[in-house]
Structures are given as structure tokens and as C-alpha cells.
């Protein structure tokens, strides 16, 4: 184990800014990408369900008229 205390771990031998700067930004970017992906999937699903609804309406129109 390299670290005696959490504080020492956070300082990372004086290079805390650089190490956590790297890992932090990477984590942020990955999280951002996942959020964007989730949003895009939800939007795509919404498009699909809207199409399904349209199809149903067409079907009713055809069968109704």
C-alpha cells in the first residue's frame, strides 16, 4: 500500500493537481458521453413510437373509410 492516509492519497506526492486533473476530466468526459448517448437513445425511441402511432392512425383511417 503506497498511502498511509486519504490525505496523502489526495496529494499524490505533490502532483495531485495533475493526476486528478487527468482522471477527473476523463471521468467527466466519459460521463458526458454516456449522458448524451442516453438522451439520443430516448429521442430515437420517441421517434419510433411516434411512427408507430402514425401507422396505427393510418390503419384506422384505412379500415374506417
Amino acid at each position: 500500500m503506497n498511502w498511509e492516509s486519504a490525505r496523502q492519497f489526495w496529494e499524490m506526492g505533490g502532483y495531485g493537481f495533475f493526476v486528478w486533473g487527468s482522471y477527473g476530466v476523463t471521468a467527466l468526459l466519459v460521463a458526458a458521453e454516456l449522458l448524451l448517448l442516453a438522451r439520443r437513445t430516448k429521442q430515437a425511441r420517441a421517434l419510433a413510437t411516434q411512427d408507430a402511432a402514425l401507422a396505427r392512425i393510418d390503419a384506422e383511417r384505412r379500415s374506417g373509410s
Binding site: 503506497n2 505533490g14 493526476v19 486533473g21 448517448l37 439520443r40 421517434l47 419510433a48 411512427d51 408507430a52
Partner: protein
């Protein structure tokens, strides 16, 4: 030259196994869905193990102290940015040869994640450079070619964004991805050649710390984690692209009627 519309297009003489079965979006969509969670779990597990090795097993380096721990994200990101670009070029070539729409969709799905890795490689490279060589940006051959690779990604995505017709976007993107892939080694060696010419002006990254085995393991595990994450992200994005592109088809409509469940 008609596209293999139905998924039953068999390669002549292929025995039972049908290469094209998963080539059509309709059959690939549920498969991608089933693969998603395994990818995320694998990525999370490997990342945890990698970080543990990187921070708690790998010793503090004699010369660089603890700043070298950045390599556990920098090197995997650099590897992944290269691997993803080559994977994109591969899918583009497959798409052009077999005229399968799904291969182009896969390539477009990979691009943003590849660009993310290229940016992470540059960002972590700069933050590692500051404590080690005193400047955020070092005109080292690998960092410079990483920068140009990042521009290649941006070029691919910008071109695809500028074209509305999906068919043209696929093929134009494929052309620039393949031309770019051919140029990546040329760019790397020309930058390396240029770097040695101006050796006095900069220090190259070859002065990395000696590779203790634990460090190597840390990087390898983190690279696998990054790989699993990339596959997961690409599959998720390709599913969204499939729905966006195939909206007028009935399999998407049935999918929506089926409550859009995980299948």
C-alpha cells in the same frame, strides 16, 4: 448493384453459417441490446482493477514520483484512439465492399468515442508533461500525431454532419476515413522524422520511466476497460442510429409497438 436487402442473402457456397445474418440492422439490433450490459459491467470491473493496480500496487517512481500514474489513462487512451480509427476504416472498407448499411453505421457510431479518446490522450499528455518537462505542450512525435489524429476524427464527423442524405454521408465519410487511415502512419513517420531534425528544441517521450511489470499490467487492464467501454458506447450509439435511419421500415414500427423493450 443491389444491396442484400433481406438478411438471408447467403454467400455462395457458405455452409449453414450465414455471414450476412447479422449484417442487416433488423437482426443486429436485439443482439446489440443483449451485449450492452455485459460491456458496461466488464468495463467497470476492469477499470476498478486497473485503477487499483495503478494507485495501490504500482510503486512510486524514483525519478518522477507519483505524477507518472497518469500513464494509466494516457497510454490506454492513445492506444484506443488509434485502434478505434483503424476499426472505423475497417468498417468503412467492409461497407464499401459488401454495400451493407450497418457497417457504415458502425463506423459513424465509433467516431465520437474515438475522438473522445484522442482528446483524453492529448489532455492527459499535457498534464503529464507539465511536471515532467515543465511545459504543457511538447512537440513530441507521438503527441503531435495524436493531435493530427484528433483533427482527422473531427474532419470525419464534420463531413458526416454536413451531409443530409445518409447514403452520401456514409460513403463520403468512408472515403475520408480510409484516406485518413492510409495517411496516419505517413503522418507519424514524417512527424517523427521532423522531430529528430529539431531534436535540440524538444525532449521526446521516450524518456518514460522503466516499465515495472505492475505498471505494464495496470496499463493493460485499463486499456481493456477502455476497449470494453468503447464497444458498449458504440453499440448503444449504433442502436440509436439504426432507429433514426430505419424509421420508415416496419421492424422499427413493431419495435415501438412492442413498448420498445430491451429486445
Amino acid at each position: 448493384m443491389s444491396e442484400p436487402q433481406s438478411s438471408a442473402a447467403r454467400l455462395p457456397g457458405a455452409p449453414g453459417f450465414n455471414l450476412f445474418h447479422y449484417a442487416s440492422p433488423q437482426t443486429f439490433y436485439p443482439l446489440a441490446g443483449r451485449l450492452l450490459w455485459p460491456c458496461w459491467l466488464l468495463a467497470a470491473a476492469l477499470c476498478a482493477i486497473g485503477l487499483y493496480i495503478g494507485f495501490f500496487v504500482a510503486p512510486t517512481d524514483a525519478t518522477q514520483g507519483d505524477s507518472y500514474r497518469i500513464i494509466f489513462i494516457h497510454v490506454p487512451a492513445a492506444w484506443m484512439s488509434m485502434v478505434v480509427y483503424l476499426a472505423m476504416a475497417f468498417w468503412c472498407i467492409v461497407g464499401l465492399i459488401f454495400n451493407t448499411r450497418l457497417s457504415f453505421m458502425m463506423s459513424s457510431a465509433l467516431a465520437p468515442t474515438g475522438a473522445l479518446w484522442a482528446f483524453v490522450a492529448l489532455w492527459t499528455g499535457a498534464l503529464w508533461g507539465k511536471p515532467t518537462w515543465g511545459t504543457y505542450w511538447v512537440w513530441d512525435a507521438r503527441l503531435t500525431s495524436e493531435l493530427i489524429l484528433f483533427f482527422l476524427y473531427c474532419g470525419y464527423m464534420a463531413l458526416q454532419a454536413a451531409i443530409d442524405d445518409p447514403r452520401r454521408a456514409d460513403r463520403a465519410g468512408a472515403l475520408i476515413a480510409i484516406v485518413g487511415a492510409v495517411n496516419v502512419p505517413i503522418i507519424y513517420f514524417s512527424v517523427k522524422w521532423w522531430n529528430t531534425l529539431h531534436q535540440g528544441a524538444s525532449v521526446s517521450l521516450t524518456a518514460a520511466p522503466t516499465m515495472a511489470t505492475t505498471m505494464l499490467w495496470g496499463m493493460l487492464v485499463m486499456a481493456l476497460a477502455a476497449w470494453a467501454y468503447t464497444v458498449g458506447a458504440a453499440l448503444l450509439r449504433v442502436r440509436a442510429i439504426m432507429i433514426e435511419r430505419e424509421r420508415h421500415t416496419d421492424w422499427v414500427r413493431q419495435l415501438a409497438q412492442g413498448g420498445g423493450s430491451r429486445t
